[in-house]
């Protein structure tokens, strides 16, 4: 029994616990946590990891996240399972947990321990007993309607109070109506009423996430529809655990997704294999007409998968191929097979060669200018998955079963690409990368960079972001790593608060050229302090590097500050492992280094004469009027 445990991921985690979780093993810990396949194992691993020390974890390069959980029942397992889910993705959860049934007090009292812990996200986990317990044991059908009405009002109060007390997110789950409860009502017509009120309550609960920007709602019913029970009667009765561990695991997976999304850690690119992944059979053996798609019954599963992938790409996920194949063959198949749902245009990068796949992933990351940690690898071969896991460890690897009918579930199950909210730019992204190909060919045709930039006919619009732009501004602040001067991350609420402060502002950068519109691709955060204008952050999407848009935007701001009567500009650069290429940005723009601190450098620019805008950019500015 012991021997087999040492070989298993859980056994390995036990060994690490006994060794006190040495820092140098933290990376392997992540791998083992990702390899756990069932709820019991995730729960056990989470309990083991209670002993992991946050300081050590942060030293090892991970992040931490403050998370509150309140509930009307014993919910401890969800904290342990959530610990596993988050550590598996590189985040150490700092929990604020209370005894059950304290949720009303914790959420309403401005001085509660919950609010003092300033949670970045709070899960308010409720089941039907949060309502039934308030009704007494001999409730009648009409009491349910009244009770649900009251409960909804209470949850809305929570949402309001929470918004006033803290800037974090508040997560509710819909309340499943259990069979036991429904069947206690003997009036079958009454049951329909009860079901309707219940469904209406859950629908109204979901509306809270449309009313309040900080509220998100998890659909519990939808999670229950997979192979998972609502509760175990004995656990419910003897330990007041009113949800099964399997359901808590499914909920924890959703909460982890929201945590990742709110940290801007959603993945950006799906890298797919071809043979027996996108189609049935082997292109090299079966030939272009031989691989299975609409021509065979089992080929349908691959078509189904391609449709699902296509849907991801229309929502901003980049798509790349890593296949051990002849490149010309692959391109020819993409052109000839009309039953391929995914066309050549859908792929931002096609790597077909005989090199190891880990190398292909690294190349894709360079070509698309995104981090290796933004890649998700999808391959039917266990060998290739292991090769990538070992040699490109920052990429995420999807575990696939052996039947293509199950591929779609595997693809979407872990929510790798989920964001709190998608922006206009996300829906246009695949189009944006397609026009990038046209730009590259123009670049190759022109002799000099100057001529290329002239021919692009670049326009840059600088404006004050409006309410419906704030989600995109927040997304840029969360997801931009390379051109991000101070890497101050802000969620949408924080962006709004920034704008609400006196003398504070944001300038959004929107750009287009002859090939298309890039959308909002950068922003400047600033505030005025007497005679000084501070640039608090400046960020620019990597898609539009090397066009001097940053120079145009900065110089426009300098000129505006000059006209406004400021004496000088102050700006900071905070180095991170990913933003070193812009370390000298302010020096290159004639700023003077006035302070070299351990964690940042400070620069000053005296406003004496006007700065010039690069000639190849047509500047359209409107921010001056509104500031």
């Amino acid at each position: 029994m012991i021997d087999s445990n040492i070989q298993s991921p859980l056994g390995a985690i036990t060994q690490m616990r006994k060794a006190g979780f040495p820092i140098e093993q933290h990376h392997q810990l992540k791998t083992y946590l990702n390899a756990l396949t069932n709820t019991d194992a995730r729960l056990d691993a989470g309990i083991s990891c209670r002993l992991l020390k946050m300081d050590n974890y942060l030293q090892g390069g991970g992040n931490s996240f403050r998370l509150g959980i309140v509930s009307n029942f014993s919910y401890q397992p969800i904290a342990d399972i959530l610990r596993t889910h988050l550590l598996a993705r590189g985040i150490f959860p700092e929990f604020y947990l209370t005894d059950y049934n304290q949720y009303q007090y914790e959420l309403l009292d401005a001085n509660s321990g919950l609010y003092r812990s300033s949670p970045e996200l709070t899960l308010c986990l409720l089941d039907e007993h949060s309502l039934l317990d308030e009704l007494g044991s001999d409730w009648k059908v009409e009491d349910i309607e009244q009770g649900l009405h009251h409960k909804l009002h209470q949850l809305a109060q929570f949402a309001k109070q929470y918004q006033q007390q803290t800037g974090g997110l508040l997560i509710f789950n819909t309340l499943p109506l259990s069979r036991n409860t429904l069947q206690r009502c003997l009036d079958y017509r009454g049951r329909s009423q009860m079901s309707r009120w219940w469904a209406q309550f859950n629908a109204d609960l979901c509306t809270l996430s449309e009313t309040y920007r900080h509220v998100f709602v998890i659909d519990t019913q939808c999670l229950l529809s997979t192979d998972c029970a609502l509760r175990d009667d004995r656990q419910g009765f003897y330990a007041r655990m009113l949800m099964s561990n399997e359901l808590l695991d499914a909920l924890a997976n959703e909460v982890a997704t929201l945590v990742l999304a709110s940290c801007g850690m959603a993945k950006k690119c799906l890298v797919v294999d071809l043979d027996n992944t996108l189609w049935g059979g082997i292109l090299g053996d079966d030939g272009i007409e031989g691989v299975q798609l609409s021509n065979t019954a089992s080929g349908d599963a691959f078509i189904h998968l391609q449709h699902a992938i296509k849907q991801l790409t229309t929502q901003g996920v980049l798509l790349a191929i890593s296949s051990k194949n002849n490149h010309t063959n692959v391109i020819e198949l993409l052109k000839k097979r009309e039953d391929m749902v995914l066309k050549q245009d859908d792929f931002a990068s096609i790597m077909a060669s005989w090199r190891p796949k880990s190398e292909a992933l690294k190349t894709i990351s360079e070509v698309l200018n995104i981090g290796e940690d933004s890649l998700v690898f999808f391959d039917d071969s266990a060998f290739e998955r292991e090769e990538v896991r070992l040699n490109c460890p920052k990429a995420s690897v999807i575990m696939l079963g052996d039947d293509p009918a199950e591929y779609v579930t595997a693809l979407v199950k872990d929510n790798y690409f989920c964001q709190l909210e998608l922006s206009k730019e996300d829906y246009q992204r695949s189009q944006l990368y397609r026009t990038e190909v046209q730009r590259t060919s123009l670049r190759n045709e022109t002799n000099s960079l100057e001529v290329f930039l002239q021919e692009l006919q670049i326009k840059l619009r600088l404006f004050t972001p409006q309410e419906n732009d704030l989600a995109r501004i927040s997304q840029l602040s969360l997801r931009t790593n390379q051109f991000n001067m101070t890497t101050i991350r802000m969620n949408e609420g924080e962006v709004r608060s920034w704008l609400a402060q006196p003398q504070h502002g944001i300038i959004a950068l929107q750009s287009s050229d002859r090939f298309g519109d890039y959308g909002i691709i950068g922003c400047l955060f600033y505030h005025g302090d007497h005679h000084t204008l501070w640039i608090d952050n400046f960020l620019l999407s990597c898609r539009v590097f090397s066009r001097q848009l940053e120079t145009a935007a900065l110089n426009s701001l300098l000129n505006w500050a000059n006209v406004k009567g400021y004496d000088n500009i102050h700006a900071r650069y905070l180095p991170t492992p990913k933003n070193t290429q812009i370390a000298n940005f302010y020096l290159q723009h004639n700023f003077t280094l006035i302070g070299n601190h351990e964690s940042y450098s400070e620069y000053q620019y005296p406003l004496t004469e006007m700065a010039s805008i690069p000639q190849h950019i047509e500047l359209i500015t409107s921010y001056q009027e509104t500031n």
């Binding site: 029994m1 012991i2 445990n5 859980l10 036990t14 616990r17 006994k18 019991d40 729960l43 056990d44 309990i47 083991s48 014993s74 401890q76 397992p77 175990d232 004995r234 656990q235 003897y238 330990a239 655990m241 561990n245």
Partner: protein
């Protein structure tokens, strides 16, 4: 499951503790993490791992690891 040593391995794995032979007769509450939630977790783990059904009354009366072992063996018989 053949012997109490094997049972101890099972308990250690399921409860994330490092109990030894010396602790077989200690009150369960003195073991790490012993609370109602974990007690229920262990019960369901015993039931699913050994394919048995344990009555709640019997389970509550077992107050040491040795008594839990004996209860499990009876249920498996």
């Amino acid at each position: 499951m053949k012997c109490i040593a094997e049972f101890l391995d099972f308990i250690n794995t399921a409860m994330i503790i490092d109990a030894t032979d010396n602790e077989l007769d200690l009150p369960l509450v003195e073991l790490g993490y012993w609370d109602s939630i974990n007690a229920m977790r262990l019960m369901s783990r015993l039931e699913s791992s050994f394919g048995i059904r344990i009555s709640m009354n019997d389970y509550l009366q077992a107050t040491t690891l040795r008594q839990l072992y004996e209860l499990t063996m009876r249920a498996m018989a």
